[in-house]
Structure formats: C-alpha cells, structure tokens
Symmetry: C2
Subunit: 230 residues, 2 copies
C-alpha cells in the first residue's frame, strides 16, 4: 500500500477498512450470498474468466458482479451481456476497491434487485497485484490470477497477494509454448508463499481448467451456505 506520513494513519486506514468489510460480509451472510474477490495485475484475464463463469453457471447459480475500474464501464458493459446484475464502481485515481466503495455497490444492488435471490457476488477488483490484497471488501474468499506471461518470479516479488489468496488461477496457459517459462516452477513459487492455496491452471481461450475453477467456485458457495444457514 502507499506509505503515508506515519504508521498510525496506515493502521487506522486498514482498521476502518476491515470494520467496513466485516459489515459488508454480515449483509452477504444475512442474504445467503457468497462473495468472491477477484484480483490480479491488469490484463491477467479477470473479465474473460467472469464471462466464461457467468455463461457456464447461469443455470446453477444466481449471480451478480461488482465491477471495479479506475475509469470507464468497458468491463461492466461486457458482463451486462450475460443478463446478470452488474454494479460498476469507478475508483477514480484509487488503485483498489475498499470496503466503503463496495458498501456503495451493495446499496445499489439492494435498491435494484432482491439480494435474497442472489447466490454469488463476484467482485472484480482494479488490476493491481499489490494494493487490493491489503483491503478486504467483505468477501468470503480471495481469488488471484497470475498470467503465465508475467513470469515465474512474481509470487516471490509480490508476496502479499499470493499469501492472501485462497485460490490462485495460473491463466493464459495456451501461451506457455511461446514463452521461456516453467509452469511447475510458477506453482512452486506460489506454494513457497502459501502452501495451502488451491492452484488451478486455466486458459480462457482453450477452456482448459475452467471446469476445475467452476467446481471450486460451486464448492465455495455450497460450503458457505451450509455455514450461514446453520
């Protein structure tokens, strides 16, 4: 995150954000919604993964998207074609979604739709491999994407994102044959930061691995609904 004038301001900032995140999660739990927070560098494939997910799971889940971008509704417009609620949030100059912004998104969602009918809210964060990992928004799990084009060393160089992730998608594996890269080495570096993370290799182009992602996602929704209804 940005270094501010002193550690006290930073701690207050993170503390206030965490309180807001807990508040958001309480709402999600009341409504029986599972929330996932998708994070990655710009262009690692978050939006196309959401497109594939909305198309594949529309008969199994009632889904909504909270779509974070600094500017434009380009991604929101892509996702609206799947006939799900899409709530855009433009962060302006801010490099990540925070819990207050997502609270605003939840408020809009609640005004326009019945949240009790929604099973899953997918939050697409601003493309940034650093800052979003530090700002919880009320999600039940964090999903990080790392494109094979970004290189093997990224888990070591940007540790927080990989330490925080519950599920790590190694994306664009269709491009691996054209790169000087070792897919297994990427996974080893991820596990060095986070031994327990679920790792799935995917390609949105060839659709390799997408079924594994859908299975993981459906299990999250199922487990979460068991927790919140007991």
């Amino acid at each position: 995150m940005h270094q501010t004038f002193n550690a006290a301001i930073e701690l207050n900032l993170l503390h206030a954000n965490q309180e807001g995140a807990n508040h958001n999660r309480t709402h999600f739990d009341e409504w029986g919604i599972t929330c996932l927070n998708l994070m990655s560098s710009p262009g690692a494939g978050k939006t196309v993964l959401l497109e594939k997910t909305l198309a594949a799971l529309q008969d199994k889940l009632s889904m909504a998207v909270i779509e974070g971008d600094m500017t434009t509704e380009l991604d929101a417009d892509r996702l609206r074609q799947y006939n799900v609620p899409v709530i855009p949030i433009n962060t302006g100059r801010s490099c990540h979604l925070d819990s207050k912004m997502v609270a605003g998104g939840i408020h809009t969602l609640k005004q326009e739709y019945d949240p009790e009918t929604i099973d899953l809210v997918l939050v697409e964060n601003v493309g940034n491999l650093v800052c979003p990992a530090e700002f919880e928004v009320g999600e039940h799990a964090k999903v990080a994407l790392l494109s094979v084009t970004e290189g093997e060393d990224k888990p070591l160089k940007y540790p927080v994102m990989f330490q925080e992730a519950d599920c790590l998608l190694i994306s664009k594996i269709d491009l691996a044959p054209y790169l000087d890269i070792d897919l297994e080495r990427i996974a080893q570096n991820v596990r060095q930061m986070n031994p327990d993370v679920k790792i799935i290799y995917v390609s949105a182009q060839t659709e390799v691995g997408l079924n594994l992602w859908f299975d993981w996602l459906l299990t999250q929704v199922q487990n979460n609904s068991l927790v919140t209804t007991t």
Copy 2:
C-alpha cells in the same frame, strides 16, 4: 493511489513527495545525470529491457540502476551481471517508489561511486500500472511499458500512467500473432490519453524496436546534458 481519510492528507503526501523529487532532480542535474523512471504492470518486461539496454549501451554511456521491488533482489542480481552500479530498494508493503526512497538510493550511490562519472540513472519502479505514475522520484522523463498480452483497453482503463508517460513501449510484440489483438488499436488508445507520447513497439526476444528505444534514450541524455550545462 490509496484513498486516505481526507483529501488534505493526500495532497500533503503528494506535495511532500514532489518536494523530495525536485530535490533529487537538483542533485542529478548538479552531477550531469539524466534519470529515467521505468514503470509498468508486473511482468511487462522492464528488467529484460534494462538488461538489453545495459548490454547495448555500455560503450556509449556510464549507467547505474536504482532497482525497486517489494521484496527480493532477484532483479537487482540479474542487472549486476552487467557490471554497473545497481542500488536495490525494497519497498516492503509499499506499492511504488517514492522520492524519499529514491533519495536513499542516491545517497548509497554517492557513497559507493563518484556520481560525476555517471551519465544515466535508470529507475525500475515496482510493477504497478496505477500508483507509481503519481509519485515522481526526480526523473527527467517517465517511460511506461505495456505488454501486448495485457489487452488493447488498458490505456483507457488506467489513464494516469498513459497521461504521465513521455515514452510508451508496447512490449512483447513477438506474442501478438498468438493473441486476438490489434497493435494499431493499442497505439490509438494510448494517443487518446496522450497525443504527444513517443510510442515504440518492442520485443526483447526478437530485439525488434530496441534500436528505436536506444535512440530515444540517447537523445534524452544528450538533450538533458545540453540543458544542464548551459
């Protein structure tokens, strides 16, 4: 950048950073050094570009690198093989270099080398397409890289970086044949944000475009030395 508690804190933060950047630039000018600040998403190819640059221009320029990373000296170690001063800065949890960190790097450089003998300091920023663009470090020009794998829409979605850049390298063009991408569209989107930016298409693998980058860089050093010696 991160949204803090109020706009006053943010303005103070940026103001203090700018003062530090001006101070750093004054030192660079006194020593006849040109400083370039390289910025991009993680994995867009900043380090390999520096490797190619150090190898190609070692007989023409005396160079040094200030190497920013959250953790590790992986990139610094790669660049040390080119027998130039490499000053690593680990930013910890911070998502960008600021002028105070770079001032520390300049201090180290001055202790270990004679800054009067250096023509060019290349600063490699933390991989992040958002925050580094807002924090000047004392550079004479900003260089941004955008990999073709990141997609055509990134200049529209992450405008600040593209507005701030003096030179924009569209990198990894050797991968373009395997992507559903229009190289000219990327450039159009960049120009929409910044009509005057110098755009160069490069591939570190095939070395296409690197001579244009070297020419641009040498012109910067030449023009800057003319300014600071008159």
